[in-house]
């Protein structure tokens, strides 16, 4: 027989003003199974909690209902209280008679009557509560970082420094990401490579870091503390253990400088065997199978070329290399897959987003995006840092920068601000002016958003010291024209501050396009059961309080895959993600809430409805066999490490063979039945 204690709180006057707590206690004391019904001024205070524990000990209470504020406020408090008094902490329910009663109803009689019913619901539920034990999940002390841009590099280094083994997975042949291709960085104008490459070298050499470049995550199984990640190591055709990175091969390649280099956003060229940039880590080449004469000929049963192999002193070239699947057991995963620029052309992957066909990107060679401009003015870029325009190599004298290309434009489908464009555009004008002293840098902008340490000062410097010409307005159209035989791009803009049209004939146009998550991130998110928004940016668990956690336990996010951000913010977030992962990995066991789904395996028909439905892939179909190994039946089974306790499986189970502990059907129906007049 249940012995339930009901403790009604006055919350000072907060509850007592509109709820007659004495009448409530009196009415509740008559409910079946209620062994005591008390009220007190502040139940959450020390004397209030003592009252509960005294009554538990005195009467041997089996369940406790605290009628006070929202369970979001104090359920944990009271669970602790009863636990200290020797009762299982999950034998507590709360009736919310403050937020959902006394604060919203001013008629005392009505509020009192409702409070009694709300407590009745809680009493009905607690009668069906079960003593629960937190779930302990063992932890593999190894982490995986997906993406080796500056975010991934930072996270990997921090994790490694914390003594954890790290698998750093990068899709490209080299680590470095977008930052490796930048020229100089705001607001200090220090060279991007100068600050990043030492860190790239460090990840390449760190004893705790295993680098998996030219590799992608294929499959994620398991759950927090116990992930099993399968990584596809793509065929590189070069054994990087044998290769010394001497460069003979890429210099000998007959396709040298004939293939557009994606690292230079196709402004520069490379060979079929190549390193994307001189500072690549690992500084080992890769063969681009689509463009390699040998590999292409092998498809037709011939063996052409092979010059690189013939020239390789260390016999590192293997034309028979194949993709390899490598499995890793890891306890935590940090996702740092970064961003790409929004596609400015008309064609979009996302049907809800439209391009800026009117800017002629793709049609006019000298209309480029901001990352291309970074390469043009980068000392390591295809022009060696000399500003030359792509179409004819001419040094541009007039450059138009158009901000918010895509960002903050409802009409084109992207509503958000990409956050970094104001700053890098100011930087671009400066870098341009530093190299072309008599040049003109026109910037069309909507607003200048330069919040940050030394940020606004930086923009002011571009305008005031370097003479960048800022026009508050949009460019509606760009047309190619000829002025004195020279190709120009007429930008039809507006200066809304002056209230007049502003037409600039530019030699080069640079579009500061919106940042969007990099390719394939939604597929990866699905593998990881991480949520994402309509644009594909990964969802953090809480925008303020859990900014690097995700709703998939054990998976953390950092950098631009979570939302547009600049380098300092990315690095800070990467360290935060690494820190959170380290906290998790520092414990021998993970403790998880026991309020998860459970299957009555005897009655489950294994129809798979729950398996299909579970947002966390926590349910699988398993075989039940007898001791001799004979097959008895199939059943669904919940992995307690993966289940987050949403209970969606319960709703789709036709036979209700799955139930949600803590919110069982037994409890929920009892709550409802308590309302039976």
């Amino acid at each position: 027989m249940a012995k339930i204690g009901v403790f009604t709180c006055w919350c000072g006057e907060n509850i007592a003003r509109h709820v007659d707590v004495e009448a409530v206690s009196e009415a509740i004391s008559k409910l079946p199974g209620v062994a005591c019904s008390m009220n007190y001024k502040y139940m959450c205070s020390e004397p209030g909690q003592s009252l509960i524990s005294e009554k538990i000990k005195e009467l041997g209470l089996t369940g406790v209902v605290v009628a006070s504020c929202s369970p979001h406020m104090h359920l944990k408090t009271f669970r602790k209280t009863v636990e200290l008094a020797g009762v299982n902490p999950y034998m507590v329910e709360m009736a919310n008679i403050r937020e959902q009663c006394s604060w919203v109803h001013s008629d005392k009689a009505v509020a009192t009557a409702k409070a009694i019913e709300l407590i009745g619901i809680a009493v009905a539920k607690v009668r069906r509560n079960a003593a629960l034990q937190p779930i302990k999940v063992p932890v593999t002390k190894r982490a995986m970082v997906i993406g080796a841009g500056v975010a991934g590099i930072q996270a990997a280094l921090d994790l490694a420094a914390g003594g954890v083994e790290v698998i750093l997975v990068e899709r490209e042949p080299s680590v470095g990401g977008k930052m490796a291709g930048l020229s100089e960085t705001f607001p200090t104008l220090d060279c991007s490579q100068c600050i990043l490459t030492p860190r790239m070298v460090e990840v390449g050499q760190h004893p705790n870091i295993k680098l998996m470049t030219y590799s992608e995550v294929e499959k994620v199984d398991g759950y927090v503390g116990n992930f099993k990640v399968t990584v596809r190591k793509k065929a590189r055709y070069v054994d990087i253990a044998k290769c010394t990175g001497c460069g003979t091969c890429w210099n000998a390649c007959p396709k040298k400088n004939k293939i557009p280099n994606s690292f230079d956003y196709n402004l520069g060229n490379r060979g079929a065997i190549y390193i994307p940039f001189p500072q690549a880590v690992p500084a080992r080449p890769t063969i681009d199978a689509d463009n390699c004469l040998r590999l292409q000929s092998m498809k037709k049963g011939k063996e052409l070329c092979g010059i690189c192999m013939k020239n390789c002193g260390s016999q590192a070239i293997n034309f028979h290399d194949q993709d390899e699947l490598v499995e890793f057991d890891v306890g935590a995963i940090v996702v740092a897959t970064g961003y790409k620029l929004y596609s400015i052309g008309k064609e979009q992957e996302n049907p809800n987003i439209k391009g800026y066909g009117e800017y002629g990107y793709g049609k006019y060679k000298d209309v480029i995006d901001s990352l291309q401009f970074e390469r043009i003015i980068s000392a390591s870029g295809p022009t060696g840092g000399e500003p030359k325009r792509p179409s004819d190599g001419m040094t541009p004298k007039t450059v138009v920068f158009i901000q918010c290309t895509g960002s903050r434009d409802n009409a084109k489908g992207i509503t958000y601000c990409s956050k970094i464009c104001c700053m890098y555009t100011a930087k671009h004008t400066m870098l341009f002016k530093h190299k072309v002293h008599d040049g003109a840098a026109h910037v069309f902008y909507m607003d200048i958003r330069s919040g940050g340490k030394m940020y606004d000062e930086f923009v002011r410097r571009a305008i005031e010291q370097d003479g960048a010409l800022y026009h508050r307005g949009r460019v509606s159209k760009i047309e190619e024209i000829k002025v004195d035989g020279v190709k120009k791009y007429r930008c039809y803009g507006a200066d809304t501050l002056a209230g007049e049209p502003c037409v600039v004939d530019a030699d080069l146009v640079v579009l500061a396009c919106a940042m969007v998550p990099s390719d394939g991130v939604t597929k990866l998110a699905q593998k990881l059961s991480v949520g994402y928004n309509e644009y594909g940016f990964l969802s953090e668990s809480h925008p303020k309080l859990r900014p690097v956690e995700t709703n998939a336990a054990g998976v953390f996010v950092c950098g631009a895959c979570q939302g547009p951000k600049d380098i300092p913010e990315t690095v800070a977030q990467a360290s935060a993600a690494a820190g959170k992962a380290l906290i998790m990995l520092s414990q021998p066991y993970l403790t998880r809430e026991p309020e998860i789904a459970t299957v009555d395996e005897k009655l489950c028909a294994a129809c798979g409805a729950c398996v299909q439905t579970c947002p966390f892939k926590a349910i699988t179909i398993e075989e039940i066999r007898d001791r001799k190994g004979n097959f008895i039946k199939n059943t669904s089974r919940v992995n307690p490490g993966l289940c987050m306790g949403c209970g969606t499986c319960v709703s789709v189970c036709p036979s209700k063979s799955v139930d949600l502990i803590g919110f069982t059907d037994d409890q929920v129906y009892a709550e409802l039945e308590s309302l039976l007049a």
């Binding site: 789709v652 036709p654 036979s655």
Partner: protein, 297 residues
Amino acid sequence: METELRNAIRKLLEEKTVDVAIGYGRVGVGGAVGAVFVTSPDEVDQLVWNNECRQNLAVHLTRPEIKALGKIAIVVKACDARAVVVLANESQIKREEIVVVGVVCEGVVKARFDGSNGEQFFEKCASCVEHAPKNVDVLIGDEAKAAELDAKNAPTAATSGNQAKLAKLRAMTSEERFQYWRGEFSRCVRCYACRQSCPLCYCNRCVADKNRPTRIETSASMKGVFAWNLLRAFHLAGRCVSCGSCAAACPAGIELDLLNLTLVNAAKEHFNYVAGEPGVPPLIGTYSLDDEEDFIR
């Protein structure tokens, strides 16, 4: 066709491809057609094929008594064939272990209330546009004829048969509909003939037979029968293949298939979903970001 069917089954049994063939035979009172379980080639002449072959034999595929007989061949009509697909999709059967013998069906006649054969085809047959079963291993009958019948029914499929009945019902006021079902359900005795004859009601224990908590009352009280019939129909949402077995089996003559049809129509209209396609994930259990939410505030 009957001969062709018998030959096909005989071959399967002779070659020991299967141990038992579930087909139709004259087994009931006065030669009424019901299921027969043929285990030897000598018995295949028991098998019949005619327009009295009403039952959906797929109901037997999940029964332990039948599974115990060994490898199964089953005779199906087009609607039944879809039920077999759903069973395979829901991993209740291993499709490759079962030989599905499809028979082109030109419609089956409804039984009268006294169990005798009526003159009229089932309502479901009037709106049938799939006379030749799909996803079968052996197909018996004239596909061209089936296609002809499909084409004949196609223009009126959405407005004839049970669709017409449902449309009539949906044209009533909500209050009238409630009173209609109240009258119908008053005859419900909770015998679960609807459940037992449905090939897709295969739960090891029905939620109606679980009493902690009492999700739906076991009684044939009004509240119990409403809850039961809503539950039964909804558990078939996105799964029901409109074979009509539930209504045909109801000893109280309640047109339960109209409830199912509502959900069949809703699945098609709102989610472009038709049950019984191989390998297709279930309707309930998946979602699309674009699902309608016009009813949500």
